[in-house]
Amino acid sequence: MTTTPQAVRRASPRTRRPATPVAPDPTAGLLPQTAPVRLLDPDGTPLPPRADLPAPPVETLREMYRRMVVGRRFDAQATALTKQGRLAVYPSSRGQEACQVGAVLALRDDDWVFPTYRESMALTARGIDPVEVLTLLRGDWHCGYDPTVVHTAPQCTPLATQCVHAAGLAYGESYQGRDTVALAFIGDGATSEGDFHEGLNFAAVFKAPVVYFVQNNKYAISVPLSRQTAAPSLAYKGVGYGVPSEQVDGNDPVAVLAVLTRAVAHARAGHGPYLVEAHTYRMEAHTNADDASRYRDPDEVEAWRDRDPVARLEAYLRSRGELDDAAVAQIAAEAEAYAADLRDRMHAQPTVDPLSLFEHVYAEPTPQLVEQREMVRAELAADAEGDA
């Protein structure tokens, strides 16, 4: 789909029998464009501007570049931390920087994000402490940040389940008179789950202000998109819920930001949910524990290197005179510092109190948990004695 040089509207003239009245098209505004929206060529050359899709302000694009560079460095650092045994596992989002950062920049700080395990970069780009973001993967607790402070749900592992939560939260916010928008990340594979369907449908029926943002990175672990769907593209799922939908070149940072900004505005204006599919590519294996050579061709990966979103935005900003060697170097240095700080802080082995296991199961531990806590307390005391 990404080979079409320019996004076009669905255009095939349908055969119409004469003498029948023309009914209004019930799909108007609901179907995506037939090819992914693209505003920059892969080499960063801008395509003609579009009246229906205002280009994002250049300061925002500069900020986007900065966060993408820092995000990529963060991502590499996290992968390195797995090799050093500091992280149990890490799912990289290398190659998906435009999506991860674009989503964050399209939102306000008080909007809510519903991420999956893949969105560590989006969360750090949101300003969440990377150590808190990696808590789940380091293994000291399930979620390291306070969702109510950063307006970000815990990274969700059970696929697609967050789609329904996002609908509920967004509806709840608007019910309470707040103009918060929720953005739910979801992968191509997870669109096959029933909860994706139920989430979109609830959001549509209740006109909940949610943006469903599918990062179609072409694989669900090893399973290629062709095993997930026979649809022309995932964005075509929206019309079945009455949800306007768009597809976008997920490696074109300008297009991603533009399309998501429009989607968020639509939701915030009270028009209900919006579905965006970004065509992108997972450059690394599913996680560091995965062996992608078992199921995909290195040539395929190579081909996607030419569509690198960071280089693309850099080229564009340079061509517009918005970025020069000095600025690039400064951002790279910032990224290095960010990574170094993360490495240092992840170096310290966290201590977790075993007795904390009994907290937060319920607001107050049940008598059964109190008994079990006493058992563990006694065990710990015996261990300490044995050690002494």
Binding site: C143, T161, H165, G168, G199, V205, A363, P367, Q368
Partner: protein
């Protein structure tokens, strides 16, 4: 004291909770204009408007997940599953999110919500309408699991559930919906975690909850003819479980039968039996026995009476509590064959 049905008491509990707390929203399938297939939400939409009591799309995972999101936004959802087996599509949302969100976030996100489930049988319902599903929930840490057996408890426990800071699975015994009882509303019987002795007795303890409580009471009444004075304990909240009341009773009586309508294998009855013998071993004159539904899919209406634990089966079991202190030949035979 007024006489009313459990259905009416539940309806009043919902209405009073909505009145007291604006954050309470009631939704599910057919709960709006219809008032629910059992009419538990009758009149709520008319009274509180269709933003506070409303119908949803027909999708249980969606209903529960939507409620989780609403709870995250600070509201207090109370949702209805139309029948027990129709909550199964929501199982992942219940087990992996509703039950765990507080724990996952170290208490930052609580999920004060209630899932109401009309459960169990005895109403001649067709398949999938009569499951006893309490064990699935009771086995899932993070959920509170509650089931009333009386009209007063129905009101009180539902108010408690809606006010509780934790997610609650509130199991409503269908066959008791339209049984009448005495109640003065707003009744407040006891907080979560308190079992109650429904009938004092000296010879053995019958432990039951929900739909099995009337069976236990009837059996205790009938047992008087056989010369047994049976105590009946109503568990009320399965999670958290009230060990103190149950063990105190069994220590007094020295004998115990656990009655559940659910299929017995790995059910809540097994948990109660296991706990009681752990805690009362030296007081026991006989093993803790169980009377449960058969280990079969809930049968078609014409056979449900064979499946359901009835008074006779309870009394037969009480008779096996080794009143003459001889081992039960039934198990002995089997054991020696091994």
């Amino acid at each position: 004291m007024a006489t009313m049905t459990m259905a009416k008491a539940l309806n009043a509990a919902l209405a009073d909770a909505m009145l007291d707390d604006e954050r309470v929203l009631v939704f599910g399938e057919d709960v709006g204009q219809l008032g629910g297939v059992f009419r538990i939400t009758d009149g709520l939409q008319a009274r509180f408007g269709d933003k506070r009591c409303f119908d949803t799309p027909l999708a249980e995972a969606g209903i529960v997940g939507f409620a989780v999101g609403l709870a995250m936004s600070g509201l207090r959802p109370v949702v209805e599953m139309q029948f027990d087996a129709f909550a199964y599509p929501a199982f992942e949302q219940i087990a992996s999110h509703m039950a765990k969100l507080r724990n996952r976030t170290r208490g930052a996100l609580s999920v004060p919500m209630v899932i109401r489930v009309p459960y169990a049988g005895g109403i001649g319902g067709v398949e999938h309408h009569c499951d006893s599903s309490e064990a699935y929930y009771a086995h899932t840490p993070g959920l509170k699991v509650v089931t009333p057996a009386t009209v007063e408890d129905a009101y009180s426990l539902l108010r408690e559930a809606i006010a509780d800071p934790d997610p609650v699975v509130f199991l409503e015994p269908k066959k008791l919906y339209f049984a009448s009882g005495e109640a003065e509303l707003p009744a407040r019987t006891a907080p979560f975690g308190r079992a109650v002795v429904r009938r004092p007795g000296t010879d053995a303890t019958l432990v039951a909850y929900g739909p099995a409580v009337p069976v236990a009471l009837e059996a205790a009444e009938a047992a008087r003819e056989d010369g047994w004075d049976l105590e009946v304990v109503d568990v009320r909240t399965i999670v958290p479980f009230d060990d103190a009341t149950v063990t105190a009773s069994v220590r007094r009586t020295g004998r115990c039968v656990v009655i559940t309508e659910a299929q017995g294998f790995a059910g809540v009855g097994a948990e109660i039996a296991a706990r009681v013998q752990e805690r009362c071993f030296h007081a026991l004159h006989a093993p803790v026995l169980r009377v449960a539904g058969l280990d079969i899919p809930y049968p078609a209406p014409m056979l449900e009476h064979t499946h359901l634990p009835g008074v006779d089966r309870v009394l037969d079991t009480v008779a096996r509590l080794q009143w003459d202190d001889r081992p039960d030949p039934r198990w002995l035979a089997q054991g020696s064959a091994a």
